[in-house]
């Protein structure tokens, strides 16, 4: 299973990756510090990643911009790729906005913890059946 971590904060990426590895979340974790790079990789890949952890607040291309850029590829991604917004923002407005994207499976406040990782794993197992 391949997953993407997209966050301009390298420390954030390091932390999330370490936590995921401790839970044996994925065989391959690709980290991107720029949403543009992640988008390019995603469009190049023959199959999309199973899960994307997406930061919102990034320069040049924000998390929202990334989601908007995925809109044309929605059909290819729905059911194949779960996108979780991973943000330090506590703003309600971000939660509301996240609900308007059907590609977004959930919004997680940083730092992600063990329970949250396990919940996602459980969800993935259910879907794979």
């Amino acid at each position: 299973m391949t997953i993407y971590l997209i966050d301009d904060d390298s420390l954030g990426n390091y932390l999330t990756e370490a936590l995921l590895r401790l839970e044996n979340f994925a065989s391959q974790i690709c980290t991107y510090e720029s949403a543009e790079d992640a988008l390019a990789a995603l469009l190049r890949a023959p199959t999309p990643p199973r899960v994307i952890f997406l930061d919102l607040n990034m320069p040049v291309m924000s998390g929202w911009d990334f989601l908007d850029a995925l809109a044309p590829h929605r059909h290819r991604l729905l059911g194949q790729c779960q996108i979780y917004i991973l943000t330090s923002s506590l703003a309600l407005s971000d939660m509301e906005k996240a609900r308007t994207y059907d590609l977004v499976s959930g919004l997680i406040h940083k730092p992600i913890d063990r329970e949250e990782i396990r919940a996602i794993q459980a969800e993935l197992t259910l879907e794979n059946r």
Binding site: D8, D9, L11, G12, Y14, L15, T16, A18, L19, L22, E33, S34, E36, N57, M58, P59, V60, M61, S88, S89, L90, A91, H109, K110, P111, I112, D113
Partner: protein
């Protein structure tokens, strides 16, 4: 004719002579004059020696005889008697008998007057008196007659009804009383003086008098005329009072009202006008020159005195609309707000309201209106609107600020929490443990940095109002900053070209300009292009309209301004991926610039470079 006849005949005086007969002590007619002959028809000669009693109508004889005898005895008396005339008729006469000598020895004189004539005369007098009385009583003016009794002593002899009406005093209360009893002080002294003057000069005296009577306050035009008696003394005064109370009240009311109007005109600061539509001229009140400074060579002026000074952009809805309203509608009211040029070329905001007078056919004849200078109010309104907008913006900024700070503060804190939790699950002494500990420190340092940023930002916002701006020599500040960045510049191979005029000063705070140049130039170094050596040019435009414009232009990497939302100066806005940055530099540039009353804008093209344009107030020359 004998001497005795001369006076009563009065031939020389032209007065009609009385009819006279003289009787001897026996009552026989001695002589009758011409008038007697004319009255009775008897020739005097024919009657001579005849007793008067024989002429008495027999039906009267018995009643009259005793009187005649008394008269013959020397008593003076008058009686009525019918006498036979020569024509045979009998006519009634009043006989006045008087002795020619106290003892009656010399005979008796008899004066005859036809009774009908006497009665007629009396009736005529009565009639005349009646008419006069009607006039006196119905005339609106007060008429009174005073008897002069001595110095300062005057008694009312007559007053008419108008006297009662005007003064409220009944004739009975007045007639027979002295002036001092009737007229109150201080009027009394005044009228006594005037009466005295009339008596001394023999001429009418006029004055205006205000007196308080039971009927109220009375203002009258008084005229008194002294009247001579038979003895040549001024024994009477006739007075006439024309009541002008009402007229004076009306005059006062009119004067007050026009005075109020005049003061109202003075009090108003509006420019009043009167547009004669047919002549197309405007008559201006004094406000026009005062308000707008235009000197009127004539008044009324042509219509263009107004229309030529209306702002060109407002002409259609003002001048054209007024003409249309006047000529093509039946409306009577017109109002508009527009800009009007003052004599010194500045624009006043005017609120103009007028009333159109139309003739029976509905054609506009005149318009009366007022131009009110509402510039100050308008400016205050605009300032208030601007203030409200600024406050709104400030509030929105603060909300955004709070959001950003909480977000950016939370990011490193969330990391720190995560790393601390991770440490728990790692083997102490392992490489991963060491790395995580390192990251925990880094995250906590980031928290500290953000808090320092916060302090800096708040100090800019708070301190801006506290200090008076001073002229700051920009070239000098730029040199200091360039020196500070010399090492970074040298290592990147960049160049800063200082094209600021040596003496250029702008109003502000030196520390802020230092911060502005430092942030702009260090950004230019940080985001330089990898493809060419960095060149930053700092230059100024010549001051224009009180503003100094400064450009800081580089040939660096540039950024896509359309990606910067809401703008490049937003706090924690980062415009470059791959190059670390906190997103506070441009925020501070803007905050410092605006706190000194300046403004900043940016233009950038990816791959070509970025130009910042700053504008500041230039110090007054």
């Amino acid at each position: 004719m004998d001497a005795r006849e001369a006076a009563p005949d009065g031939a020389n005086t032209g007065v009609r002579p009385e009819a006279l007969v003289y009787l001897n002590p026996q009552g026989e007619i001695v002589h009758g004059n011409e008038a007697f002959a004319a009255l009775t028809g008897h020739a005097p000669a024919a009657l001579q020696g005849q007793a008067l009693v024989q002429l008495v109508d027999p039906t009267d004889a018995e009643a009259v005889l005793p009187q005649l005898q008394r008269g013959l005895r020397g008593e003076s008396l008058t009686c009525e008697v019918r006498l036979r005339t020569a024509a045979g008729s009998s006519e009634r006469f009043a006989l006045t008998m008087f002795p020619l000598h106290p003892t009656a020895e010399a005979g008796t004189g008899v004066l005859l007057r036809p009774v009908e004539a006497t009665a007629r005369a009396a009736a005529a007098v009565q009639e005349r008196e009646k008419r006069l009385s009607i006039i006196f009583q119905t005339i609106a003016d007060v008429i009174f007659v005073l008897q002069v009794e001595g110095p300062g002593q005057y008694r009312f002899q007559f007053v008419n009804q108008a006297f009662t009406r005007v003064t409220g005093l009944e004739a009975a209360q007045v007639v027979g009383n002295t002036v001092a009893d009737v007229i109150p002080e201080p009027s009394l002294s005044l009228v006594l003086d005037h009466y005295q003057q009339a008596l001394q000069t023999g001429q009418p005296v006029h004055w205006v008098e205000t007196s308080d009577y039971p009927s109220g306050r009375v203002v009258g035009e008084v005229s008194v005329t002294p009247v001579l008696d038979a003895a040549g003394r001024y024994s009477q005064i006739v007075g006439v009072v024309h009541d002008v109370t009402e007229r004076q009240q009306i005059e006062h009311a009119l004067r007050d009202s026009s005075e109020r109007f005049r003061y109202a005109l003075k009090a108003t600061t509006d420019a009043l006008y009167d547009w004669d539509v047919a002549a197309d001229t405007l008559f201006w009140g004094e406000g026009f020159e005062e308000l707008f400074g235009h000197q009127l060579a004539q008044n009324p002026t042509p219509f263009s005195q107004w229309s030529a000074h209306v702002h060109p952009d407002d002409v259609a809805r003002t001048v054209d609309d007024l003409r249309y309203t006047a000529l093509h509608t039946t409306r009577t009211r017109w109002q508009q707000e527009y800009r009007f040029e003052r004599a010194d070329g500045r624009w006043a905001t005017v609120f103009d309201r007028g009333y159109l007078l139309r003739d029976e056919a509905g054609r506009a004849v005149r318009m009366i209106g007022a131009m009110q200078d509402v510039s100050e109010r308008k400016e205050a309104e605009q300032r208030q609107q601007q203030l409200a907008q600024e406050l709104f913006q400030h509030n929105a900024d603060l909300q955004q600020f709070t959001y950003l700070v909480s977000h950016n503060l939370r990011a490193p804190l969330a990391n720190a929490t995560g790393f601390a939790g991770l440490l728990d699950r790692l083997q102490p002494g392992s490489a991963e443990f060491g790395q995580t500990l390192q990251h925990l420190h880094t995250s906590l340092r980031r928290v500290d940095e953000i808090l320092r940023d916060l302090n800096t930002i708040l100090s800019v916002r708070g301190r801006a109002l506290l200090t008076e701006p001073e002229p700051v020599p920009l070239a000098e500040v730029l040199r200091e900053v360039t020196d500070l960045l010399a090492e970074d510049l040298a290592s990147s191979g960049g160049e800063i070209r200082d094209e600021l005029p040596a003496g250029l000063r702008v109003l502000g705070r030196k520390a802020y300009f230092h911060s502005i140049f430092y942030n702009l130039l260090s950004n230019a170094i940080k985001y330089r292009s990898a493809e060419r050596a960095l060149l930053v040019t700092v230059r100024a435009e010549p001051p224009a309209e009180g503003w100094v414009t400064i450009h800081v232009a580089d040939n660096g990497a540039g950024f896509d301004a359309s990606r910067a939302r809401p703008d490049a100066f937003q706090l924690y806005q980062r415009l470059h991926a791959g190059v670390p940055g906190r997103g506070i530099g441009l925020f501070l540039v803007k905050a410092h610039t605006e706190s000194m009353g300046g403004r900043v804008a940016v233009a950038s093209n990816v791959g070509q470079g970025t130009t910042f344009t700053l504008q500041f107030r230039s110090p007054a020359a």
